[in-house]
Amino acid sequence: MITMIDLLLIFRILVFPGFTFILFLSLFCEWIDRKIEARFQNRVGPMVAGPGGILQPLADFIKLLTKEDIEPRDAKKLVFRFAPLAAFSIMVFAMCFLPIDGASILSYGSAIAQSGFNGDLIIVLVFATIANFLLFLAGWASANPYGTISSARVLTQFLGYDIPLYLIALTPAFIAGSLSIGIIASFPYIILAPWAFVLFMITMQAELEKGPFDVPHSESELVGGLETEYTGAKLAFLHLTRNVQVIFGSALVVTLFLGGPSGPVFFGLDWLFYTLWFVLKLVIVVAISSYIANVFARLRIDQVLTGNWKILLPAALLSLMLTIALVTWVYHPFGIGV
């Protein structure tokens, strides 16, 4: 028996704020990213498809879907086909845990703080790691030296940067005293831990392989990186995975540090305003990330790794210690941020 509640759940998963919404949100953020990049480079960016070129990412996606699909003879076929799709699905699934319209996709109608369960923060971080690993497999299976080297870089980079990412992601969790995304998302922790926000932005930049940490995509050395051998629909899904990764990273920043969907609600339309606030904050984070990517030259892989082990990891540990000290002696005794 399909009940109303089941129908609503299906609607939430497939349409809003689930799959379809995430898809268009990621394409929208790609457009913003491209526009900002273009303005930084004294260009106009996409102009033709839709007002201000807003439909260009969608047009690119559809175009790629219609292109011929070629598989290299030596590629490991199963992994080659399966990895991009799996990475995409996992990223979308991870997005489902974030309270885009005030609640995670699986829990509806509840307040922000009750929308998650204790420990879902760890789950989404693990999903992000798995998706990266699948992207590594995608490049590795394509039997191309450029793809292989690029994959090796993806692996080295995300294994290194995952440690500081987890450590810094725990900062708001410590202050909130909970590992539930819903509880963390109900307060803007950037006020209580601004240093952690800065560190998290930098780590996210590296985790998302955006400039100046975009060594796996450095086209002057590696052609297309792990995408070199991909064509057609598979390439479209690799691109889409990257887009969803980018909005996932930015959404994580929004959730952990900027109070997620919290904000003033009018006319009782809480889902609409929550979504609006969330997307607005998301766009700001994407813009900051785009800014960082554009004002620096790309680092070298060894510089990226040195930066991780020698600078970011100690900084993350220090940040964690500072947070614990503040939480124990300042925040919690005075009831701040709980």
Partner: protein, 479 residues
């Protein structure tokens, strides 16, 4: 001589067909002079001793002479082909006069090398002939151990068009436009050097105004070439904003080239006896406006190239070429000047009116990619000053004189400072309107050996930025 003067270097080796003998002319550069040592070997047994043990910079020039003229340099034997295509038959030397090119039978092309694992943990990465980092086709097989480069093997000649051979069957007038096609970027330099060499044989005095106009054309060319590579280097290190900005500001320079020559790329300004197009009074303010605009933007660009931290991280201490190596490999142009070797043909052996124009010779001592780019950055400013000076001091008078179509028997060498370094032309005439031999030595051919040296031991990620700092031009290299 090498011990007495550290700047002594073999600029190039010209192979000549002298009937029964092969002439091998060594063009030698010293700090004070420039001269040619002539050697002749019989065609049946064209053996010479190699120079590479005492001067490694002769390597490519000897190989080229061996490939095209069939001279054999003992100790530096050629395996396969250096510049000719793989399907060219062995033992057929195209620059010899007794070869009938219509009778040449091509051999089957050997199978192409692909990326593969070399022995053990090393991987061989083929950069080129088609690769996003290369704008022109040339192949470099880079062997890497993890991320470290252990070996670089070049294969040039993918755009060899036989221009030297072709020049031997066209008139001097046609050749002026033919040699212009050696390179898309530095085409006025090629045309100029060719006509200057011919004028040397003819002993022509070019009018003063034409000499100034030629300098203006050459400096506009240097400007656009330097701005091009400064932007392109940004692209190679993933700094696309730099790329877009430099290329935006290169565009007005291209417009000036169009304004003064009528064409954006191939101006075809140079001609034996002068220049083909005058700059009139209305054009001068337009040129000056562009110069002033660029001059006002330069401090910002210089700040980027001097101080930007990530750019420094990627360019500082990358591809260090020591002064000793720079001298030994006889590199030229900005690459030599970045390694502390103060050679600039405009200063050392001034041509046209560079004598009268005050400008600084830019020398850096770091020898790395950063220094090479900053040499160019500073030269952009010097070029703007030269242009400004030349426009202010442009004398009145004719822009060309009548030159005879036939050239008396003789030979001449001429070198100029092209944007990428010293460019050499050797022309030998035989009394007709067709040259006997035209030899072109382009700066990139002299600079590639330095890359083979500096890339070893560095990260594969540094290969593009190191390589682009040479400002390589393969269509020049291959001719």
């Amino acid at each position: 001589m090498l011990d007495a003067d550290e700047k002594t270097g073999v600029t190039t080796i010209t192979g000549l067909d002298l009937g029964t003998n092969i002439g091998v002319y060594y063009h030698i550069r010293t700090s004070k002079s420039f001269f040619t040592i002539k050697a002749e070997v019989p065609k049946e047994n064209p053996r010479l001793k190699t120079l590479i043990d005492i001067h490694p910079g002769a390597l490519f020039h000897e190989l080229e002479c061996a490939d095209l003229m069939g001279a054999i340099f003992e100790g530096n034997e050629l395996n396969g082909h250096f510049i000719l295509s793989e399907n060219w038959p062995n033992g057929v030397y195209p620059l010899r006069k007794d070869i009938d090119l219509s009778q040449v039978k091509l051999v089957p092309t050997p199978e192409h090398e692909t990326n593969k694992s070399a022995e053990g943990r090393e991987v061989k990465i083929i950069i080129g002939p088609q690769h996003p980092a290369l704008l022109e086709p040339e192949k470099f097989s880079v062997t890497v151990d993890g991320e470290t480069v252990t070996k670089v093997e070049p294969r040039i000649g993918y755009v060899h068009r036989g221009i030297e051979k072709s020049a031997e069957s066209h008139t001097y007038l046609q050749d002026t436009y033919l040699v212009e096609r050696v390179c898309g970027i530095c085409n006025p330099c090629h045309a100029y050097t060719f006509v200057a060499t011919v004028e040397k044989i003819l002993k022509l005095e070019v009018p003063e105004r034409a000499r100034y106009l030629r300098v203006i054309a050459l400096e506009l060319n240097r400007l656009h070439s330097h701005l091009l590579v400064l932007g392109h280097a940004g692209l190679e290190i993933g700094y696309e904003a730099v790329f877009q900005y430099f290329w935006r500001d290169r565009e007005p320079i291209m417009d000036l080239i169009e304004l003064t020559s009528g064409n954006r790329v191939f101006g075809s300004l140079m001609t034996v006896g002068g220049i083909r197009r005058d700059i009139n009074q209305e054009q001068i303010p337009k040129i000056k406006a562009v110069i002033n605009d660029l001059q006002s933007k330069l401090p910002f660009y210089r700040k980027i190239y001097n101080d930007e931290p990530t750019l420094r991280l990627r360019m500082k201490d990358v591809g260090i070429l020591s002064r000793e190596d720079a001298l030994k490999l006889s590199v030229v142009g900005p690459i030599a000047r970045a390694s502390g070797v103060d050679i600039d043909v405009r200063k050392d052996r001034p041509y046209e009116v560079y004598n009268d124009i005050p400008f600084k010779e830019i020398v850096y001592t770091d020898g790395d990619t950063w220094a090479r780019m900053n040499v160019r950055m500073d030269e952009v400013e010097e070029s703007l000053n030269i242009l400004d000076y030349a426009l202010n001091h442009l004398p009145a008078g004719p822009i060309r004189i009548e030159a005879p179509r036939t050239v008396p028997v003789g030979e001449a060498v001429c070198t100029i400072e092209a944007p990428r370094g010293e460019l050499l032309y050797y022309v030998r005439s035989n009394g007709t309107d067709i040259p006997e031999r035209v030899k072109i030595r382009t700066p990139t051919l002299a600079n590639i050996p330095s890359f083979l040296k500096t890339a070893i031991g560095e990260s594969i990620a540094d290969v593009p930025s190191n390589f682009v700092s040479l400002d390589p031009c393969f269509s020049c290299t291959d001719r």
